[in-house]
Point group: C2
Chain length 359, copies 2
């Protein structure tokens, strides 16, 4: 399986590719299935969750499926006031702000709290395409609990971390237990790799990341026996600390230069990324150029997985995604033949002219 | 004036210090003045704006005043549907999304559009404390116009940039004209330095920053004859491009290591920053440690201004700010004497124990 081989930095026949949020609102077949189910209902229904997970695999021929779930699923299973508001994200009616709130959390009992996850993963594991399980990392989960809703700067989370480091550490430890159980549950049911979403940790300085976060993330990734992908957003300033968490794969966003990271860390980690998802809304000529630029920066050494730097935006034309998969498979390992002038030629255009405009 | 001297990398008697959003909700005297005025009303009233600007100067003895204004003031003067919603930020009822929206903008006519800014600055210029004028940089203004409200990832702005680079460039050029006029108006009225807030540019890769943004920002800063401060948030990955905008002062957030930046760029730019404002909500012992760590990293070479990495949070105890000013003045140039063990001693505590808890 080329996705797993790439995670392990083994040579592959073609560059593997998948997209964060490939199962989602960019697909009409997804929107149809979601019409009469809110997202948590869909996740809790193994038939629907299976179908949604497989939709992008069938349509785009991506090299990995990612479980249709959400990073707040284990928290929502423990605290029913946590929900996902459409267009807004995770919301909790009473945010976590004091030590008394700790009693609202306990460790996860997978067979009782999330039986639907086990059932969905078991079914998905029968498919020949590798399945990626995932979970939110403790800081990111903590930020949803503490902010109570979406936040641009995670100020309440950082304030609590500064105000009461002891309470914050207790909260992170509880969340680390939940995260690890959630991941192991998926692995036991058949997930062949996992991605840990430490989406919001980029708001911290390296000093505070090392002081409050690194140890916990290290412990989680160190306890996992399948390939692990560490995902974060806006963390170019944390990279030298994040590598100490020792994932199999570092997933980068568009702000971290792929070329330099591959050259600095490519002999220790596979690299995944890093196209800006907003680029997929551009005219085909611009998408082509950016996909080729990404492949060139990635180079041809083993240990690279093509992906975006964040999730597929709902407005994305799904045909653009299908074309990119084809293109990356065809030209991902062809070295520097994609550069510069060849872009106008048909043979180096991942997205045929016009198709990103919905035609 | 030690603030202006530091901007120009000249030796100073004491490390200058001011705080972004020093005039604001952390001060009870500000909250009283704002009780019966929304923020734009307060900005439009020169007496109130003068008073609010001077409040933190009187209370904290900071080394610079910053005009009480908002980066959307020139846009709100041109488009009355742009407002500031308390607790949310700038909102525009009909976001900018197409070329027809360009007609909703025109260049600023200062004496007609913003006479109150001229009047307020003229009064403030009579005070002995240097006055900093400011404006939003074009990308950041564009993001408010295009998103229509607060955004975590500025996706609509980046999508428009990708979809229609020609339209985006036209918009940026118009905004650059507005920004430059807004800054020059403040300088002509007596502002002795300016800060350009390119707050949201950290969402871009270096490639796209260089392609779409750098030239415009360079042109604005190049046309200003007083000391210029470039402010941005989360831009450690853009630093080598941002320095090409040639400000007098680079204002950093807490994610950019002060020590390394001072050593890499300290002979070309003064540096301002970079304490995380959420730290000011912590117990005094932690504030002390972080202030001292910041001063140590900054070192004693000329060209350093103590500040936060983002604005003062409304929940901040104002006495903490007053104490920090005193502390930075007393110990900012004392070299490495602040390190490690001395923190427990009285003489190295910017914030006396307990006072950050409101006591």
């Amino acid at each position: 399986m080329r996705f797993i081989d790439a995670c392990n930095r083994r040579p592959v026949d073609k560059t593997p590719v998948w997209f964060m949020r490939q199962a989602g609102r960019s697909l009409p077949e997804y929107r149809r299935l979601r019409e009469s189910n809110d997202i948590l209902q869909a996740i809790k229904n193994p038939e629907i969750a299976y179908e949604i997970t497989m939709q992008p695999v069938r349509r785009h021929k991506v090299d990995a499926a990612i479980l249709f779930s959400d990073i707040i699923v284990p928290l929502a299973a423990l605290d029913p006031t946590m929900t996902i508001v459409p267009g807004k994200g995770p919301v909790i009616s009473k945010p976590f702000r004091s030590s008394s709130d700790l009693s609202r959390l306990r460790q996860l009992e997978p067979t009782e709290d999330i039986p639907y996850v086990i059932e969905t993963v078991k079914e998905l594991a029968k498919s020949p395409v590798p399945l990626i399980g995932f979970a939110g990392a403790p800081f990111t989960l903590a930020s949803y609990l503490i902010e109570g809703g979406p936040s641009r700067d995670h100020r309440n989370t950082k304030a609590l971390m500064a105000q009461d480091p002891v309470l914050f550490e207790k909260l992170l430890d509880i969340l680390a237990g939940i995260t690890l159980t959630f991941l192991k549950t998926q692995i036991d049911a058949g997930a062949q790799a996992i991605q840990l979403f430490d989406s919001w940790v980029g708001t911290l300085s390296e000093y505070h990341y090392r002081k409050h976060i690194l140890r916990t993330t290290q412990a989680i990734l160190g306890a996992i026996e399948v390939p692990t992908i560490h995902y974060s957003l806006g963390t170019s300033h944390l990279l030298s600390a994040i590598v100490e968490t020792q994932p199999s794969v570092l997933s980068l966003d568009w702000r971290v230069p792929l070329l330099r990271t591959r050259s600095d860390f490519g002999d220790r980690f596979a690299i995944q990324g890093n196209l800006d998802p907003t680029i997929l809304l551009a005219p085909s000529q611009i998408i082509n150029k950016e996909v080729n630029r990404t492949l060139e920066e990635a180079g041809t050494a083993p240990g690279y997985i093509f992906n975006l730097g964040h999730g597929v935006l709902p407005e994305t034309d799904p045909q653009v995604l299908t074309n990119i998969v084809e293109w990356v498979h065809e030209y991902g390992l062809s070295g520097d033949s994609l550069s510069g002038d060849s872009l106008s030629g048909e043979s180096s255009s991942p997205v045929p002219s016009g198709c990103s405009d919905g035609s």
